[in-house]
Structures are given as structure tokens and as C-alpha cells.
């Protein structure tokens, strides 16, 4: 049967066949070539030169969770893009940030968003946060073949768990292995430094504003030591993308808010280049 999305003929039988509520399952049945994981790559020598996204960080606070990412994409030692967006809303109550091969990552996010929306429309109810996290796991697993050839996608998933009434963070590895993180998490090339930074600054009783500042500090530290991570670019007015997910749903900080936080962090770094000090015992 033809895919037939172009012409306005009768709906193909596959569209009217009762099946699962998953858009990915429907694609696999009906037009498998549209699934990112189904593509076969020719054998290649060495790494493929494509833009890579870098650092994503997340931290939870009593009323929700913050997910943020820097804006740099690199291709080898070149900056491929200065204002790439790597943090996206997944649905009303969750967001996903992606490090790794930018092209594949963005495609994966698009499919993931659609997967959640499709389920919601067909079933009339949202997936549980756990269910969403597992769905993302399946998608990364589908990309394993490409990951083995150097085209890895490593997301960080955060959301408000409506049933448990708290913000939760899930991190992934290239095989789709999923683990829930407590407090804070980071992924991508600068994650080592971001995690170190958050480890010293994180507390369980942060306010929303403090959590936002925390992740911006962490991104600053990642950019400080990792050449692939971009710091706040004041001259071009490019600031990290910071999203907050609470009981009220997903919200992305406006440019003014993001610039306020970034500038206040920068301001203090002028006196203290290494950032806030933790107490020594």
C-alpha cells in the first residue's frame, strides 16, 4: 500500500487497522524507511565529520527540575554553529536535551515528541514519566548501529512526575541503558566539569532561581575547561537555553531571564574566575 500522504486519496488500510497507540510502531509497519534507526550506513573509515552538540545539564529542586544546554556545535576542532538549540520540550511535562551527533539528535527529538503526542491523542491520556523515559530508551537502542560508527546520540531526559509529584532526571548511554539520577546530572563532552561543579554547589533545598543559577554556573565551568562547550556569548547575545519543568508544566526561560542569570554569573566570575567556593569542612 502506498504511503499516500501527498495525494488526497482514501486512507490506506494500514491507517484504519486497529493497532498500538505508538507512532513508532505505526511507522515501522507502514513506512519503515522513515525511522531513523532503520537506515544502513556504508562502511566508513574513521569518524564521520558532522556537527556535534556538547553539554547538557540538569538539576532538581523541591518544586521541579531544570534542564539546560550550551549553544555550541562543533565539527572536529571547528565551531559549526554558535546558537544551536539542544534542549527541547518533549511534551507539556517533560523536556529532553541532547548531546552527540546534532542531525540525528534533532531528528530523534522530533520523533520522540511526536511519539508522546500521538499516544496522548489516541489514548486520551498521557504516558507516565517512566513510560516516556522507557520510550526514549528504545529509540536510542534503535540508533546503536549508527552509534557504533561514531554517530552517537546521548540524551538527558527530565520531567515532572504527575503521579509522584516531583521532578525526575533520567540519563542514558549509547546502548539505551537508562538510569535515574538523583539531584543533578550532565551529559556530553563537558559533562565531567559540569558534574564536578554541581557536585560542590548542589543542595537539596534549592529554590527555582538557585537551581537555574546552579546549572548556568555548571555550564560556565564546562565551557571553561572543555573547548567544545560554548560559554555565554554576551557580544552576540547568545545565552544557554534553560528550561524549568514544574507542576505548571514546561517553561523555557525568556532571553531576558537567561541573559540576567548569565550576566550575574559572569559578573561574579570577573572577581572569582573559578566561581563560588564551597566551604572546606
Amino acid at each position: 500500500m502506498e504511503a499516500n500522504t501527498r495525494s488526497t486519496g482514501r486512507l490506506p488500510a494500514a491507517f484504519l487497522t486497529p493497532g498500538s497507540s505508538s507512532f513508532m510502531d505505526f511507522l515501522a509497519e507502514h513506512s519503515p524507511e522513515l525511522l531513523p534507526g532503520r537506515r544502513t550506513l556504508p562502511p566508513v573509515q574513521g569518524a564521520i565529520e558532522v556537527p556535534h552538540g556538547t553539554t547538557i545539564v540538569a538539576a532538581s529542586f523541591p518544586g521541579g527540575v531544570v534542564l539546560a544546554g550550551d549553544r555550541r556545535a562543533t565539527m572536529g576542532n571547528m565551531i559549526a554553529q554558535r546558537d544551536i538549540e539542544k534542549v527541547f520540550p518533549a511534551d507539556e511535562y517533560s523536556a529532553v536535551g541532547i548531546a552527540g551527533t546534532a542531525g540525528l539528535a534533532v531528528e530523534m527529538v522530533r520523533l520522540f515528541q511526536l511519539e508522546l503526542e500521538h499516544f496522548e491523542k489516541v489514548e486520551g491520556t498521557q504516558l507516565s514519566l517512566e513510560g516516556k523515559a522507557n520510550r526514549l530508551s528504545t529509540m536510542i537502542r534503535g540508533n546503536l548501529g549508527m552509534a557504533m560508527q561514531g554517530l552517537a546520540v546521548v540524551p538527558l531526559f527530565a520531567g515532572w512526575d504527575v503521579d509522584r509529584q516531583k521532578g525526575r532526571i533520567f540519563s542514558y548511554d549509547v546502548t539505551g541503558g537508562r538510569s535515574e539520577e538523583h539531584g543533578y546530572a550532565a551529559t556530553g563532552s563537558g559533562s565531567l566539569f559540569a558534574r564536578g561543579s554541581m557536585k560542590k554547589l548542589y543542595r537539596e533545598d534549592l529554590s527555582e532561581r538557585q537551581a537555574v543559577t546552579l546549572v548556568v554556573q555548571a555550564l560556565y565551568d564546562a565551557a571553561d575547561d572543555d573547548s567544545a562547550t560554548g560559554g555565554p556569548d554576551v557580544a552576540r547575545r547568545i545565552y544557554p537555553i534553560v528550561t524549568v519543568i514544574t507542576e505548571d508544566g514546561y517553561r523555557r526561560l525568556t532571553e531576558t531571564e537567561a541573559s540576567d542569570v548569565s550576566r550575574s554569573v559572569l559578573e561574579r566570575r570577573l572577581d572569582q574566575p573559578d566561581g563560588p567556593r564551597a566551604e572546606l569542612l
Binding site: 504511503a3 482514501r10 486497529p18 500521538h118
Partner: protein, 255 residues
């Protein structure tokens, strides 16, 4: 060998149409209507879970009267069509006109193929525009014809009577509360002309609200908000609907 009885094509089609119409008439009617900020769907539905109205895509909503399993099948087909199209091209390339055409073709083929029983459904596909002029409402009867409607439309068994009642009273730029009141009034009239009361818990109400900040404009109106709108239905006091909608927050998209 016995010869089958000859049935003229006109007679066969008339029989099929009558069969479908009778099936549709068994269900309750529903109303789709433009108001100042969008399009409102109102129907009587005792079930909380089995919906007559639902979201197809960002700006497109779906309403159906008739046999549940058949329109549910078409609804899911429509969601798949819209999602696949939006994924292949862009979200803006999914339009109510395209969807209505696909439904018309599907219903038409089923209606005229001798091997299949005709669907006992009547659909409405509506798309909310950036302004009232951009709103589109298509009515799709069981035989696959397609009617471009303006202002208000009723489908289901008692549709003609309700439709003419609405035509006389509907005007452009009504508030949501006014439109809702008019729709409920229209639905509560019996074929005999007498009125009966439809309690709020038997009403299913949804809107495509163009003022919603999200790209998904479909929202169900339930519980307190519905009660408030019904209470505020006196035309002079159509208070701050917009502010109330804001207070409901994002959970609107959740169902």
C-alpha cells in the same frame, strides 16, 4: 442456478443511505460553532471516557455522531494521517481541508463499494485560524460528500431541526459562554419541540482556542470551568473567560 434479483443502482444507493441515516439517528446530536476566540464543540455524552470530540492536530479538531467503533476508527486514521504528514513535511502542512478530503474519499469509497457496509457516521472536521475569518468547518455525511460550513453546524439524528434553530440565532463574535448557552439550548429541544434539561455532567464540551499560547489549540472544558461558563451564560455578564482559561494552566492539553 438461480438468478439474483435485479436491484437498480438508484434503489441500492437509496437503501444504503437510509441504512446509514437510521444508524446515525440513533445517537445524540452535537453542535460545532464559531465564537469570538475559536470554535466550540458541544454535545450530550453520558460517558466521561468515550469522547465524541478530540484533537487531531495543532489547530484541527474532530467531532462525530453515529457508531462509536466506526468513527473511532476514522479518528485514529486521521491522527495517523496528520502525524505522518507533519513528520514527513512540516506541522504547517497539515490542514483541515486535506484531512476532510481524505475522510470524504474514505467514506465515499466505503459507501459505494458493494462489498462493505456503509459507515453509520457523520463527521465534522474544524480548523481554527488566526482570526475568525480563517476558521474552517467541514461537515462530512456518511456518503463521502463534503460541505463547507460557516458559523454553526449540527450533526446527528436531530441535526436539521437543531441546525435551523442555530442558524436563526448564531451571530459572529459571540463569547464562549454565549455560544455554549446557545448550543445547549439547541441540543435540549426535542423533535416534538418541547425542551428538556441537560445537566452539566452529561455535557461534553471542547474548544479550539486560538488565544492559547501553545501550538496545540484543542482543549477540553470540564468540571469547575464548565460550571462557571454555564453559570455566566447570561449575555450581559460574559466575564473574563480569557483570565480563567489561563488559570487552568497546561493540563488542558493533557486529555
Amino acid at each position: 442456478m438461480s438468478t439474483p434479483f435485479y436491484v437498480s443502482p438508484q434503489q441500492a444507493m437509496a437503501d444504503r443511505a437510509e441504512y446509514a441515516r437510521k444508524g446515525i439517528a440513533r445517537g445524540r446530536s452535537l453542535v460545532v460553532m464559531q465564537y469570538a476566540d475559536g470554535i466550540v464543540f458541544v454535545g450530550e455524552n453520558p460517558s466521561r471516557a468515550l469522547h465524541k470530540f478530540s484533537e487531531i492536530y495543532d489547530r484541527i479538531g474532530f467531532a462525530a455522531a453515529g457508531k462509536y467503533n466506526e468513527y473511532e476508527n476514522l479518528r485514529i486514521g486521521g491522527v495517523r494521517y496528520a502525524d505522518l504528514r507533519g513528520y514527513t513535511y512540516d506541522r504547517d502542512d497539515v490542514t483541515a481541508r486535506g484531512l476532510a478530503n481524505v475522510y470524504a474519499q474514505t467514506l465515499g469509497t466505503i459507501f459505494s463499494s458493494a462489498g462493505e457496509k456503509p459507515y453509520e457516521v457523520e463527521l465534522v472536521v474544524a480548523e481554527v485560524g488566526a482570526s475568525p475569518e480563517g476558521d474552517q468547518i467541514y461537515r462530512l455525511p456518511h456518503d463521502g460528500s463534503i460541505v463547507d460550513e460557516h458559523g454553526s453546524v449540527a450533526v446527528g439524528g436531530n441535526a436539521e431541526q437543531i441546525g435551523s434553530f442555530l442558524d436563526q440565532r448564531h451571530r459572529d463574535g459571540m463569547s464562549l459562554a454565549e455560544a455554549l448557552k446557545l448550543a445547549v439550548q439547541a441540543l435540549s429541544r426535542d423533535t416534538s419541540g418541547s425542551e428538556r434539561e441537560i445537566p452539566a455532567e452529561r455535557l461534553e464540551v471542547a474548544v479550539l482556542d486560538r488565544t492559547r499560547p501553545q501550538s496545540r489549540k484543542f482543549k477540553r472544558i470540564v468540571g469547575r470551568q464548565l460550571a462557571r461558563l454555564l453559570a455566566a451564560a447570561e449575555p450581559a455578564t460574559a466575564p473574563t473567560d480569557a483570565a480563567d482559561d489561563e488559570a487552568e494552566g497546561p493540563e488542558g492539553a493533557a486529555d
